[in-house]
Symmetry: C2
Subunit: 219 residues, 2 copies
């Protein structure tokens, strides 16, 4: 599949010029972060909760405690939507009306199911950890049976999706261009600061490569 | 009011130790950003869309085109919820199970209404702009009647809310502390880069103080 089919649910109505249904472009947005806003209906009201996720092909993995209200509500509802957004700049125009932000956002829709099978659950947890920080999984203490049993893993299949991207400069009215008003972009991004070791670590323990790699790629 | 009352809707079930209903703490989370995930029910499904907002006391202001599907759906539903989250760190534990993130998030619930009255609408738009970048409003070209009429402003009253904050270090199992595994925090934050002037600005135009102030406070 190259593009998600459009339906009443995912078709972008406003600002269609910024919309995309391209699978690869949407995957790129999903892989640039690991926090999604998962939405579900609770007693007739829409609630959205931020959750960490992992992605493998058209599957999104969420996990939590076996008693997690949201995950249990999702499983009951049998479907969910998730929105991921990256804020890239404030767009400072000459008029208030044309102020905007540059961003990349994707909203996904599809069915959810609980993962029961052991190998599948392990693979989902690995995918999840790898998505947050590549290489971390190999360095940590192996999961024990109790931890494994206490963890609920939910698989969400991306059935349809839409993304919106604004990545251009200021768009002002022609007659405003000459006004003595500063206009331009204030670029924004999420950055990492130098890792802070846990107080109980031996003083001489080196920071492993996967952590320094993450820091260097995000500082 | 010092604290939001707890109901089935906003009571935090999991991780209560990290929950707060304190009005000032929740306002601090809201004022640390300007993008909220607004959730509503569309044809029985929950959808969440990122939107810029302004806050004044217990009011949240959203705006968009008069034809904005989400704002119109909100007005029809007469109520909404909004979630704001700031990601502060990856919490890298010795076991996969105890990996976490440090964050501040708030979820708000309440009624919405359209603002019709001119002075109220102007005040809401000023509040909105001021929330995104203090001082910007005074520097821009005044809004004309057509722009004013084409803008839909929605007022959301925070009736109840809950926040969750995790701001501590790694919490590992006692028996894992001595393992030769690096553990600690990878701090994350949203930062600004140096402002990029619009291509049509005169070359010698200075960057105004409110923009440099923003950059210096967020770089």
């Amino acid at each position: 599949m190259k593009e998600y089919s459009k339906s009443k649910l995912n078709r972008v109505k406003r600002g269609q010029i910024r919309a995309t249904y391209d699978v690869e472009k949407i995957n790129t947005i999903l892989d640039a972060g690991f926090i999604g806003f998962v939405s579900y209906v609770f007693e007739g009201k829409a609630i959205s909760i931020p959750m960490a996720y992992g992605r493998k092909e058209n599957k999104i993995y969420l996990h939590g405690s076996q008693a997690n209200r949201m995950l249990l509500s999702l499983l009951e509802a049998k479907e969910m939507s998730m929105t991921v957004m990256h804020l890239d700049a404030l767009v400072l125009a000459r008029s208030g009306f044309h102020h905007s932000v540059n961003y990349r956002s994707a909203t996904l829709f599809g069915p959810v199911k609980k993962i029961e099978e052991k190998a599948e659950k392990e693979a989902a947890l690995l995918c999840f950890m790898d998505h947050m920080m590549p290489g971390r999984w190999d360095g940590v203490r192996e999961m024990n049976q109790e931890e494994f049993d206490r963890t609920l893993v939910v698989e969400f299949t991306i059935e349809t999706a839409a993304a919106k991207i604004r990545d251009v400069g200021v768009v002002d009215e022609k007659e405003d261009i000459g006004l003595p008003i500063w206009a331009g972009l204030m670029p924004l991004k999420q950055t990492a600061e130098y890792p802070i070791p846990d107080k109980d670590l031996p003083k001489d323990m080196e920071i492993p490569k996967h952590i320094l790699d993450y820091y260097n790629a995000n500082k």
